[in-house]
């Protein structure tokens, strides 16, 4: 989806992707100063809070392993609650990074450069948070940790390849490893810059170790470019496949509200939607805090707003189609599922979802809102919440009233559910803070290709 195709699009180049006056040296100085400079006191306070959150996660998982899933609110018939909501939510957030890095790279969207590193890191951390849930939501995680993998064993047992959960294992683990590789490869030239800029021996040694002997030679650049492009090609289908496969968990189930063919595209769009929202949520404070407005410009924000609008509309279409299909099918169970969403005991969550994911993004049609950091941030927070509500609507709300009315029940999350959820947010933020502190959050060498000098050279060829 090219920006030019978006409704209300302005001619490209209207806004710069890099503020004027920057050259290679100033880019390196500015970006690496975040790592090498002194951090303000608020950074440590925020880091401490986030780390505290991660400890809450550790405590709740420890309690979980020693006591059992029963500390959560999951029950009969709602076998999956916060655990799988959070899993899908985090996986969705983890979509933006690869989309920005790979697909926009292939589409030669040069505005991606300033946000890709950061978005990829976010992807990795989100996937890490997501992976906690499928493991720990099982009754016996010490067995689930390896029984879901196909490995030769004396029991002569393979996992059940017909189960969407096994597809999940493959899809998510592939995605996690390719994303990590892609991110790391992209980091190598910058790690070498960091090695060269570092003052202290241990910093030089550490960056040196991870830069894998990068010497900026033409051969290195040649290999690098090929590898990066190949990985981008490899990641591109993954962006579409991961969330499609995650949606199969539901789409291949029987439950009304799950059993729908629309799920794969609807989930992918939702994931991109959520991912961009999270990038905005994090990028807006970050660029302000570290004075990176020159690199993450209003153009970036505007473009991300457009992507959010488009994917949000796709998601909204999905909601409408769910209602339509239920009505059009005439299926009793589907119709009741819709009735339950609209008027059941959890209908307030459905309406919150509509407010957050459909109504709240409508201002994005107007440039004014796309270019205002405040409105963008507020809207992105709406979407973050909205996408969480969406998963609540899909998972517990479908399960709590299915085929036999006798087994209907309510789902009441406990404080441990919330502790695990907020704990995973703490872990995510702590990892983000660490990332910003030790690695260049913006790809320096790629930013340099946006400088006027780089352009002239390009034109001269």
């Amino acid at each position: 989806m090219s920006v030019a195709d978006l409704p209300n699009a302005r001619p490209p180049g209207d806004l710069p992707v890099l503020a004027p006056g920057h050259g290679p040296a100033s880019i390196t100085d500015k970006i690496s100063s975040v790592v090498f400079g002194r951090m303000p006191i608020w950074f440590y306070v925020a880091m401490a809070i986030a780390f505290g959150g991660a400890m809450v996660l550790l405590a709740s998982l420890t309690k979980l392993v020693f006591t059992g899933i029963g500390i959560w609110g999951n029950n009969q018939p709602v076998g999956w609650g916060f655990d799988i909501i959070n899993f899908v939510w985090w996986i969705g957030i983890g979509h933006a990074g690869t989309l920005i890095s790979a697909i926009l790279l292939l589409l030669r969207q040069e505005w991606r450069t300033s946000i890709n590193r950061f978005a990829e890191a976010m992807t990795l951390f989100a996937v890490a948070c997501a992976l906690i849930y499928p493991l720990f939501h099982t009754g016996r995680p010490w067995l689930a940790a390896y029984w879901l993998l196909p490995y030769p064993n004396t029991m002569g047992m393979w996992p059940n390849f017909r189960s969407p959960l096994i597809w999940d294992v493959f899809a998510v683990s592939t995605y996690a490893s390719v994303s990590a590789l892609f991110w790391y490869i992209g980091l190598i030239p910058d790690l070498a810059v960091m090695r060269d800029k570092a003052k202290k021996l241990w910093q030089r040694k550490t960056y040196g170790l991870f830069s894998m002997g990068w010497r900026n030679s033409a051969r290195h650049w040649h290999n690098y470019e090929s590898a990066y492009l190949l990985l981008a090609g490899l990641s591109t289908p993954l962006v579409l496949s991961v969330h499609s496969v995650v949606s199969f968990d539901f789409a291949s189930g029987q439950i009304p509200g799950w059993h729908a063919t629309i799920f794969p595209p609807y989930f992918v769009a939702g994931a991109v939607f959520a991912g961009f929202a999270m990038v905005l949520t994090l990028a807006i404070p970050l660029r302000r805090a570290f004075g990176l407005e020159d690199f993450i410009t209003t153009k970036h924000l505007d473009n991300m707003g457009r992507v959010m609008l488009v994917t949000g509309l796709i998601v909204g279409y999905g909601y409408v189609m769910e209602l339509f299909t239920a009505w059009y099918s005439g299926n009793l169970y589907e119709m009741y599922m819709v009735k339950n969403r609209l008027f059941g005991p959890y209908s307030w969550i459905y309406y919150l979802l509509i407010v957050c994911n459909i109504l709240a993004i409508q201002p994005l049609w107007l440039q004014r809102f796309r270019r205002s950091v405040v409105s963008l941030w507020v809207i992105s927070m709406f979407v973050n919440f909205g996408m969480w509500f969406e998963r609540f609507v899909i998972i517990p709300m479908s399960l709590h009233r299915d085929f036999l009315p006798s087994s209907w029940d309510m789902y009441n999350p406990t404080r441990w559910d919330f502790a695990t959820f907020f704990g995973s947010i703490g872990l995510f933020l702590a990892l983000m803070f660490l990332f910003v502190r030790v690695l260049p959050a913006i790809a320096m060498f790629e930013m340099k290709t946006l400088t006027p000098d780089a352009k002239i050279k390009e034109g001269a060829h």
Binding site: T67, G68, I69, G70, I71, G73, N74, N75, Q76, P77, V78, G79, W80, H137, T138, G139, R140, P141, L143, A144, W147, L148, M157, W158, P159, N160, R162, S163, P164, L165, I166, V169, D249, S252, G253, Q254, I255, L332, Y333, Y336, P345, L399, D402, F403, L404, P405, S406, S407, W408, D409, M410, N412
Partner: protein, 1034 residues
Amino acid sequence: MSDVSSPVPTAAPAGDCHAEWKRPPAEKPPLDLATVRGRLEGQRGPQYWRSLEEVAATPEFEELLHREFPRFAAEWPAGVSRRNFLQLAGASLGLAGLTACTRQPIERIVPYVKQPEEILPGRPLHFATAATLSGFATGLLVESHEGRPTKIEGNPDHPASQGATDAVTQASILGLYDPDRSQTTLELGRISTWRGLATALMAALGEQSAKSGAGLRILTGPVTGPTEAALMEQLLADYPEAVWHRWDPLGADHQRRGVAAAFGAPHSIRYEVGRADVLVALDADFLTQGAGAVRHAREFAARRRVTVDGPQMNRLYVAEVSPSPTGSVADHRLPVRPSQLPALVRALAARVGVDGVAAPADLEPRLERFAAAAAADLAAHRGRALVVAGESLPAAAHALIAAINDALGATGETVVYGEPIEARPVDGLASLADLARALRAGAVDLLVISGVNPVYDAPADLDFAAALHQDKTLRVHHGLYADETAEHCQWHLPAAHYLESWGDARAVDGTVSLVQPLIEPLYGGKSLAELIAALLGRTEASGYDLLQEHWQEKLGEPSFEDAFRRALHDGLVAGSALVPAAVALAPDAAAAAAAALAAAPAASGLELALRPDASVLDGRFANNGWLQELPKPITKLTWDNPVMLSPRTAEALGVHNEDLVEIEAGGRRLSAPAWILPGQADGTALLHLGYGRRRAGRIADGLGVSAFALQTSEARWNLAGVTVRKARGTKPLACTQGHYAIRGWLADETEEAERRHLVRVGTLERFRDNPAFAADYEHEGLDPNLSLMPGFDYSRGHAWAMTIDLGACTGCNACVVACQAENNIPVVGQDQVRRGREMHWIRIDRYFRGGLDEPEGIVSQPIVCMQCEQAPCEVVCPVAATVHSSDGLNDMVYNRCVGTRYCSNNCPYKVRRFNFLLYQDWETPQFKLQRNPDVSVRSRGVMEKCTYCVQRINRVRIAAERDGRRVEDGAIQTACQQACPSQAIHFGDLNDPASKVAATKRDPRNYVLLGELGTRPRTSYLAVVQNPNPELAG
């Protein structure tokens, strides 16, 4: 196992009560062993023996010796000889060492050195015995694994069981192993011994023999066992002034008085439900409660099993206060206030032509209509009609109903009268009131209470606890638990469970069953017979000897040993049923009864009905976790007894589910949560008995409120002029079906269940027109075999399948407890039930039909695993922990399960159960004994579900394969099927066309649940056929 026998002190009674307890004052405090021992302690060496000599010479010691060793008293010479002295000295030294050591012996597991007869490890044995409830016996076969009873089944040869059981009997196996049972004799709350108690009893009885037992009172429940009765007769002969009181909170006093009024004698009464074409039940849950219920359910269901060849069935009219299982299967169900029932009886009597009875003038039109139709129907089926009344109806109503039945020609046909089953039948309440009066008058020196708990369950106006507190009375309590009554007695003696004791009891038709123990008493408890024998001076008599002694002469010919063994083997004494008595209605009994009913003051205001709880009855089973967690029929509540209100009454009071309400009746008040129950009569409140226990055990203490606190001697079952007020606050209740507001949730549930055709109900008329009416609800042109996946050929080997006849199911819960016992299903507790995590593998769904204010019907639908041929759970399991067997079972591999719960999410029937926490008790040694060794005990994090009792299938299948024969139809019975009193469940091999299950699958009423999903369930249902009276239609 060593823990089992170690005496663990149960909670000592509160300290302040102790102060009030005083030993019976005696002229001179007799010297007992403790005093002797105290005197002897602190002296050492040679002086010790000299002192004994001195002590033994005292007159007190002589007396002690006689009390302590009555049998050997004569052997003790006047002086101590050198020989005796040395014997005692040696024994004392030898035994002295034993007391010092408290270390438990090391336990070694060794194989049998000598193989006990008939025991093959891993192969269970079954023994016949009998359980009693209010004295009435139900014959049982108890499964025993290497000496541990694990599962109770009905005895097919026994008239009261016919192979089935009810829920409380199924659960009694857990009662045996209850760790909260009293484990030691207690004196003033401190551990004592049987010997110590026997000493105290002998002393007290010694006084009594002087005054021919004038101060001796014995209080028991109803006794039907010939041995116990004979012993008691002997005791009463020895102490002619002694009084034997009987108390049973569930006793049929009204019925007995009514029958006595009608026929002049307190005849026993038995219903031949199977012979009746038209039945009217007035507030009588005769299919699930009271004596003979199991048999009634079977006979009733047999008359409702319509076939194409014989489309005939009986018809049941029920008028009741609150919906009961019996009401739920009625063809016409009328909610009535308790005060309306006597008028209804009079209307029926007048219309069927009982002499001297006039119809009441001011009957409500809907009652009038009901009475007219029912009476006409009854009259049209003379000799094949039956009217059954519940205990809540006054005695006069029972007398009038006896007259109605007599007028209908039912006497001797559908109602059979006979000699009383009970020994020396008395009116329980009068008897208890007598005792209370005697206690207050100070006329009781020794009171022995056995197996009853009047401190908890006597009507509040008797204030029995206060009556019991007489300083001069020595009170001895004998029971399974050190309960509320034990708290108010100086002595408590643990009773032996029926599975631990020898005895006998009569069934509702008089047949004598022998009770044989399956295990040695776990805590050294005594049976009632042993206790009575002790009162007769035979403190060491064993129950076995007592039983044999009694039957020696009766079974003497030709060989006692053979006859006794046969009776033990069969579980009953053949030919011991009572012969029906010829009865004649007293001339003016009906008119007098009708006049008494008409003269009763009219009830005003809200009426409160107190009824036995479906699970724990009057509280005697309160400490049974299976029963507490058993969803009660209709309400599906567990673990509590809220106040039931009809939707309209609740609305008028402004009360919602779980709101606390305050009930005030006759100046007594209590506060309980409310529960709204469609089908209950408007203007009534209902509270179940059996809750509010204080000293029942860890399970029951503190659950609910005690309805006995509102009960009075005049109004035990129905209280009028009651006020119910909304109080502040709510109390959460644990319900397994429908956890939300009545209008929103239940209305939705009812509407959707009807729309989805989960329970298919047709009338007999419709069945005659179109026997396959259940298929009308199927989608047209839908091929349930349509599948993308290749099918599996099940035509070779076995194809296990089940059908459940919804027309027969009363929702009595026997199957649920049977399944729990068979399959080691844990109890999760009230909090976990509230979270929707109950573990029952079989559940009974309840759906109301029609409006909530006046439901047209209530249906029960047992749900087991459907064992789908195309099982949605199997595809989604990532580790292949649930897989299909070649005979069509959906197997669950616990060891492989990692607990993703995906299978449960994808199960359209939601039959899977997950161990969210460690629900199994892995610690309590008693529970280890109960478990079925053929079924895995699941740990936390594992999914489980109904297996069709695969362990039972495989035991029979393997034996058949070994012998090279085919499995016979009926050889395999699932636990639920075996327990079902109404034989609603059929199980067998579909590949055997002659099997019962194959026949029921061919029944036109057969249908599957959610067949359109293509799951191809192996479990299917037979639609309900009802037989409404056309006159009452519309």
